[in-house]
């Protein structure tokens, strides 16, 4: 089992994702340079947060054309596990691996704070270790996390149970009140129809130890590990 963390120029959560996997989960992980089309036989790819290519033009808009993304697209479309966090989520949308797009936060400001998200679906490789309805405390840090898509896509997302995380309050009582950025239907994270590609705005890699204020991000990485272990067993 090996994780790959893609490094775009301007990625700034690459080291954090790497640290979470290597030093907290103790699993093999390596960096993949944006100009490489070789995914180094990784079993799961993480597109980290940051400001790839300065986020010039539009968040994720340039990163999507980098050499590494050709391979990531191929990998994702053939069933490989891909997780995009924050800027990584934006890149996945730009690349068409996930539907929809990000707008500026409704308050038009960068926001960094702990938010609460509810795990809506557990039949994905990113959430299989979580309880359905479990509430996770995870920080956001973005200017453009206001997820949006057209009505038809939204209906598809809901019908196929692709919304895997929704913003809510700490006790899960009021989703609208817990929405920090205006995202449609309080969407914090989605997966593709095949459920092997997912993106979320909150940063699970930042909350993997109690000293960091929460270790709720671990459940997402543990899910990925379990899914990879399961997949390895199935092929064995």
């Amino acid at each position: 089992m090996k994780f790959g963390v893609v490094v775009f120029p301007g990625s700034n959560c690459d080291h954090d994702a790497f640290y979470a996997i290597s030093n907290v989960l103790h699993k093999p992980v390596e960096f993949i340079w944006h100009q490489s089309e070789n995914l180094a036989n990784c079993d799961a790819i993480i597109l980290p947060g940051g400001f790839s290519y300065g986020d010039y033009l539009r968040t994720g808009a340039i990163a999507r054309f980098s050499p590494v993304m050709k391979s990531v697209e191929k990998f994702g479309k053939s069933g490989g596990m891909v997780l995009g966090v924050c800027n990584g989520f934006q890149i996945l949308c730009e690349a068409g691996l996930l539907p929809g797009a990000m707008m500026r936060n409704s308050g038009l400001r960068f926001i960094c704070r702990h938010v609460h998200i509810r795990v809506e679906q557990t039949d994905t490789p990113f959430t299989n270790a979580a309880q359905k309805g479990q509430i996770l405390k995870i920080p956001i840090a973005h200017s453009d996390g206001n997820y949006n898509c057209d009505e038809a896509t939204l209906a598809e997302l809901e019908k196929n149970r692709q919304v895997i995380f929704r913003y809510t309050t700490h006790d899960g009582s009021n989703d609208n009140a817990g929405n920090p950025n205006g995202a449609v239907r309080n969407i914090a994270g989605i997966c593709n129809r095949e459920r092997n590609v997912a993106g979320l705005m909150p940063h699970p890699e930042r909350v993997v130890e109690p000293a960091l204020g929460s270790s709720d991000g671990l459940v997402i990485f543990r899910s990925m590990v379990e899914a990879l272990v399961g997949a390895a067993k199935a092929t064995a």
């Binding site: 120029p9 700034n12 400001f51 300065g54 509430i135 009582s173 130890e209």
Partner: protein, 797 residues
Amino acid sequence: MATAITEIKVTPEIAAEHGVTREEYARIQQILGRDPNITELGIFSVMWSEHCSYKSSKVHLKRLPTRGKLVVQGPGENAGVVDIGDGLVAAFKIESHNHPSYVEPFQGATTGVGGILRDIFTMGARPIAVLDSLRFGEITPGKHTSEEEAAKNRRVLDGVVRGVGSYGNCFGVPTVGGEVAFEPCYSQNPLVNALALGIAKKEEIFLAKAKGIGNPVIYVGAKTGRDGIHGASLLASAEFTEESQQKRPNVQVGDPFMEKLLLEACLEAMQTGAVVAIQDMGAAGLTCSTMEMASRGGTGIEIDLARVPQRETGMTPYEIMLSESQERMLLVAEKGREHEVLSVFKKWGLDAVVVGTVTEGGIARINNNGRVAAEIPAHPLAEEGPVYNRPLAAPAPRIESEKDWFAFAPEGTNLTENFKKLLASPAIASKRWITEQYDTSVRTNTLAGPGASDAAVVRIKDPQTGAVKRALALSTDGNGRWCFLNPRVGAMHAVAEAARNVAASGARPIAATNCLNFGSPEKPEVMWQFSQAIDGLGEACTILSTPITGGNVSFYNETLGKSIYPTPVIGVLGILDDVSRVLKIAFRDDGDVILLLDGSNSSVVAQQASPPQSNQASALAREFSSSEYSKTITGIVAGEPPAIELTAEKRLIDCLVALAAEGAIQSAHDISDGGLAVTLAESCFASVVAGLQTGASSSAASATHLSATIKLNGDAPPEHAVFGERGARAVVSVKPTALARVLDTARQYQVAAHELGQVTRDGSFRIEHKGRAVVDASVKALRDVWAHSLEYALTKR
């Protein structure tokens, strides 16, 4: 136009337009043995500007303590460096970007942050935290501030906050702390002081010393444009006038994405072992970096401007040398290995060009297309510039009497409404609206972000293995109002508070950095304030064992002839040997005992510096008139800052560090702006009632935050007891079972421990003075006022 400037014949009048005096001009002629050409004059003018040369402050700065057993590098390099154990060092420094931030708030603030980050990674250290110390004019209309003025201050604040956030967030360094203060004097001269902290291996620290004759000099990073020409000399070294807004083209423009690439590329290039020296191009750009590298290394340097990557065509040597375009570095590589360095920059998509060589003989020669554009002996230029011992004059003593001072309310007066006003004032209110615009958690080291602890606390991951052992704590502090009333005592308080904050997070203070914001050095009163402040800083840093390792001086903070309050801002760095021992301000459990720790041996306050004939009551009034409460409630700013006893501060600091190491206390929060009541309230606001964590449902009736019941005695008037700001004090909460042990430790450190009351969970915040309630309200009501007033003032008016 572009060619015209090179042909200008330099005269003393043109020199004067560059801010070069007649005496300085004569000195230039003497160094060169001839008249300078216009490019050379430009170079001298920026190198000898107040901002770059410290010509007015040098004689005073010598009095600061700069040595200590942990100090690896003191003032004079890009940043100070201290040993933090396990083969690691911390590089840290604070710097101002005041004038640019008024002229163009967003870009001024971004380039301020960008500049200080470059100073850190120039040393080979990866930046891991930024703190911002910000001061603005009042943002709500009042006695000294019209609505128009307040609206302008709100716009400046908004731009500065966006700028600070934009740069740090994109660069990927957490902005973990700092301060935000408001006084009318900063209305047309906001203070934007940015501090950055980085970590490196001790043997991998880089210095800016050119070495090795024949070694190539390499220019890396952004292209040079016409932006920021004379930023250092005209913006930072002259006072403001009504025309200053027209200096907008002198403000540089920042690109954090470029800087992030530069960071990664520089650190990677340094790892090749082929880099000999490196210097960032900050103030005075290419001029300062070439001249200082050569001067420090005792070498010469020769560069060809035609090879410098340029953003615009037709730039003159004068413009190229004086440009302050951001995100550029100059480095010296080992001869024959330059390709190793160049290939790293190519990988990161950055310009990297060999522009010259290190030469023998100490001459800096600037060529342009085969012609010599400037030829200057580097050392005399960099090190033998003018030094001024400017005249000092104490201002006329303020004649004050009791009628000028705060008049205390009689005993038994209910102070709850005043307390709410204080909590709602921008100075005291929650700064969450600001700090949430900063990424505080990237790099996953933040153990205590803004408001969680008295200092920001970040853990140290080993650069190779990621293993975590220790943490560093940082706090920036300053009190302009107190320094205005008494610069020496005010400066001492700034050091004491920063050190106390660090100790209240559990860390041992080890070193300091300073940003000295003052008015015009050409005014004897300002120089007197400066000299007094230096004396105060020196004394405090000596007693508190926090040597000054670097920083900067920002003079000419005046607009239309009016100076700001003298405002030394101090950043203190502390070390925490065990990451699990971080102390936070939040109360933890219902039933915990609340203690006041007081480093002062005697209960008599304000005896120092008060006239002998004054009685105790008027001494208290005099001291209290300098408080945040006095300013907020009555508008009175007078008297003297509270007397300071540095040995008492030291005792308290040592005691807090010991208590943290023992794991004996539940929370700690020092007493500062707004006094005891604000300290206690903040410890309630930051708390969470157990059982209300994620996932648990809260019943509407139960309180979400812990509360406190406090009983005070003593003869001081209630307002003084509740809102007084005397130093050397902190509030800690203790489990009843640990009380005896804590009292014992306090005794060992000769710190008085007074039992004030208890942490409760009934939601009621109550302070009694001699048996009568003086503050009585629900935590929720108080918190609502405190939590939302800044956002309301900034966005809803």
